[in-house]
Amino acid sequence: MAYVALADRDHEQHLHDPQTFVTKYIWSQDHKVIAIQYSLTAIAVGLVALGLSLIMRLQLGFPDTFSFISPDEYYQAITMHGMIMVIYLLTALLLGGFGNYLIPLMCGARDMVFPFMNMVSYWVYLLSVIVLCASFFISGGPTGAGWTLYPPQVILPGTPGNNGGIVLMLLSLVLFIVAFTMGGLNYVTTVLQARCRGMTLMRMPLSVWGIFVATILGLLAFPALLVTGIMLLLDSVLGTSFFMPALLSMGEVSEHSGGSPILFQHLFWFFGHPEVYIVALPAFGVISDLVAVHARKNIFGYRMMVWAILAIGIISFIVWAHHMYVSGMNPYFGFFFATTTLIIAIPTALKVYNWVLTLWRGDIHLTVPMLFVIGFIFTFINGGITGLFLGNVAVDMPLSDTYFVIGHFHMVMGVSPILVIFGAIYHWYPKITGRMLNDRLGRIHFWLTLFGTYAIYLPMHYLGILGLPRRYYAMGDTSFIPDSAQAMNAGISIAAFFVAAVQLIFLFNLFWSRTRGKPSGGNPWKATTLEWQTPQTPPVHGNWGPDLPVVYRWAYDFSVPGASQDYIPQTMAPEDVPTDPGSSYDGGEGEHS
């Protein structure tokens, strides 16, 4: 492919030099600083969403106790919790945070190809967060329509924030999409155009593959949300009827007529389902790299892993209506979407097998990142399996809209990617700061988080099978819910408070280790990928010093037979590889790819 050598030239390098504190840390165009800005903002707003989930759990666990939670506030809390976690935390952190930090470093580029646009992307994202959070402070408060924002109720009286909160929510989403598009174009272009010499696509680390494909999904899926948001905004503010049929609200016939609420659902989930993989694919990629490094073994079936990422990305665009089996859409759609949904399980299952097969016959170092990898594999198997229930239309019938669904998506889209994010932070923190995170605190954090979250979500599946509906402020008296279900709900709440408290250990570790952690050196995990081969740690602006790296091999040359050390960096030429005397070193993958 065409190789762009522009950034090789010495004088280009100075374009990247920051001048002042402000250009270095505030209006920064350095992808690494922007990555940290994205990450810290996402974590901060994620803590808000965590707080909202505790309000929710207070109400569900102890429904007769807390006078500060009314039904309005409860529904506002669940709505904001869901939207923040999915969009403003997970999407922003995995793509804006990890994507920004890792793509240029792992591809051997000095920066993103459009650094200024990258900077603007962050500031527009921050603006979207501010607009979103502003809805907490306006009269009527944020919208309480559920994170799916289904019309008609989202803009009708009877739903909190039906005229103010929803407008801010939609504006914030529009801003977020603008920010994402600027960032996303950057990530895709950088991967395609700014890889260093020798870094072919099939030599890229799977983290980059995952983020790259997820970004393409985002660029194709977010426009659906954008137009949906704008149409809903018009329905709300100008009284159009894209999604609003004739209806009777509060005893009066509304002005709307002819719109289709189910059109909104199709558009929303056309975005919403790829969104699941926008979160999942970067996590898959990161896990693949972590498992290889810490098991000292090449990722098993690299090409299969790449094809699986691409297959999942493509199929993810034709499974959306599995969120709508009981929505009243044409029931014949059920056959098609159940089939596509169960087909997507196959490449996903192969990825799980390949992670486990990478551990097989490996040299497993049970470091903190590896613990999170194994924890993720367990929670992802669990969450993937419950997806097979909900994806199969007939099986979904009794389970849809119950606690089973809550258990499923928190396992697969909450706990699993969060474990990946934690693992990734323990793994890359030394590169970002030059210091190791505290190992003992990391282990405590891992164990308590894994068991705590399982205690929250495992019982939810069974409460859902019993028939507990989701989004209920209180269950009240029914003929089928025994008292034991309420006792379990109280227990789940206690587990949730516990897990939330445990995260303070992690936050403490992040700040404490920044100055007190053990110095890490440039490559503490003895990893092969380019970010660990930078001349300085943390990498300076421009990343590589005067000469860009040159890549000779894939990212997974661990424990190559005959080589005297158990890893060969991507930058090491075949003739430079130290070998054991008399061994049959064959050059590793670098020779034959």
Partner: protein
């Protein structure tokens, strides 16, 4: 090593929890054992995968954990192994998908002998309609919905004349009779769910989705709304009673056809005034109420609300609780009214009386009350005027001591706990947000200011 034990513990907990937890499907009450079977198949297939995959993971961690001098095996890929895994996974997926699709084909195909019943959802109430002898549901129009025609039937459509209207949220069905439920919403999305029936479907304004089932077990089951429909979503409850054909027909005969509703005579105020003579002993000649006798003011209330409460007292849905001494006084009084027409007459008479000011006896933190009232106003209106479509009476101008007592009664299950009082049940669910007496005083104090 610890992590291998940790994962093993999690797997064991999961399996034990699966078999020992007391929570499983409610006993089936419809002919959908096939759905339960697909769930069981999925549990077995995925259960084997869950244990096998995690078992392999645990073994791998123990066997290949780092030890001095250990080196990983170098093998970039194994085409053969990957093909095998793909094939085995595909077989597992087909084993779940094939029965799933076969059952789905049954779920969407309504048998020819299915009887039609319409389910109407609204914020936050269920109504029902049977098509009558002609088997055809008459046309409806959102614009025709009024307090006298809540389902919006077209008066000139002949097909609608014999439709039987059930405007309270209790539906009876004949056992072993297949039913096709056609689902209609007046306002927002809802979802018609009876957990024991297994199937469920959304109600969408502007569309008419359907779902069918054959009830197979007699009993009284909860209808739950399972699509978020606003702040009282969790309080949108109904009841389905499955019974023998004879009992069902008795029940259905108690409800009017649309033609009968249209032909209902206008209530006569004179007759109502005559009946009211008994009431005036406690409630006062002009309906102003008397706190000393625990008789609330009646003026300012809507006639449909008065009618419903009189019916409730008469039929023991209200005032029967041992804790409700004042309600118990009212019950025999309501029984004096001989029939529905008498009740309609007296309700119309009371509603025609000029409204008067009530004495304010309760004070509280009105700012806090206003915040609490944010929830109330979705049904009772921002001015406390009451909204007919929400079945919510006026609160503005009511005796505050009476409001406070009723809220307390709802909260303690003294009112609204009768299994057939589904309107009251909604208030018992909502009043759960008032966690103490102070909250009641605050919200009533705010209502005083409206």
């Amino acid at each position: 090593m610890g992590i291998a034990v940790g994962i093993l513990v999690l797997v064991v907990i999961t399996v034990l929890f699966h078999f020992l937890s007391p929570w499983w499907f409610t006993p089936l009450a419809a002919d959908w054992a096939s759905i339960d079977l697909t769930v069981d198949i999925t549990f077995w297939v995925t259960g084997v995968v869950f244990i096998a995959l995690n078992g392999f993971l645990i073994w791998v961690i123990i066997r290949y954990r780092h030890r001095q001098g250990q080196k990983a095996h170098y093998e970039p890929e194994s085409k053969k192994l990957e093909w095998w895994l793909t094939i085995v996974t595909s077989v597992g997926v087909i084993a779940m998908l094939a029965p799933g699709l076969w059952v789905w084909a049954r779920i969407i195909e309504v048998p020819d002998d299915a009887a039609v019943v319409e389910v109407v959802g609204q914020q936050w109430h269920w109504s029902f309609r049977f098509p009558g002898e002609d088997g055809v549901l008459g046309q409806v129009d959102i614009g025709l919905m009024t307090v006298d025609n809540p389902l919006g039937l077209k008066p000139d459509d002949p097909a609608g004349q014999d439709d039987i209207l059930i405007t309270n949220p209790e539906l009876h069905l004949t056992i072993n009779q297949p039913y096709k439920f056609v689902l209609r919403s007046k306002d927002v999305l809802h979802n018609f769910t009876v957990p024991q029936f297994r199937v469920k479907m959304d109600l969408i304004p502007g569309m008419v989705p359907y779902v069918w089932l054959k009830p197979t077990r007699p009993g009284r089951f909860d209808i739950m709304c399972e699509e978020l429909c606003g702040i009282a979503h969790f309080a949108m409850r109904g009841v389905v009673v499955v019974e023998e054909k004879a009992a069902f027909e008795d029940w259905l005969a108690g409800y009017p056809t649309f033609a009968e509703v249209l032909a209902r005579p206008t209530p006569t105020l004179a007759a109502g005034k005559a009946s009211y003579a008994v009431c005036s002993a406690c409630h006062g000649a002009s309906g102003e109420g008397n706190e000393m006798l625990n008789a609330p003011k009646l003026t300012g209330l809507q006639p449909w609300y008065l009618e419903r409460q009189l019916m409730n007292f008469k039929h023991g849905l209200r005032g029967g609780d041992p804790g409700d001494a004042f309600g118990a006084q009212m019950a025999p009084m309501a029984a004096v009214l001989a029939d529905d027409a008498a009740i309609a007459n007296v309700a119309a008479y009371i509603a025609s009386l000029p409204d008067s000011e009530s004495r304010k006896t309760i004070s509280g933190d009105t700012a806090r009350g206003e915040k609490i009232y944010t929830t109330c106003l979705s049904c009772h209106g921002s001015g406390g005027q009451g909204i007919w479509s929400q079945n919510a009476p006026a609160l503005k101008g009511a005796d505050d001591w009476y409001l406070a007592r009723q809220l307390e009664n709802y909260r303690q299950g003294i009112r609204g706990a009768h299994p057939q009082d589904l309107y009251g049940k909604q208030m018992t669910l909502i009043s759960g947000m008032l966690r103490d007496e102070q909250a009641i005083r605050d919200v009533v104090a705010y209502i005083n200011t409206l």
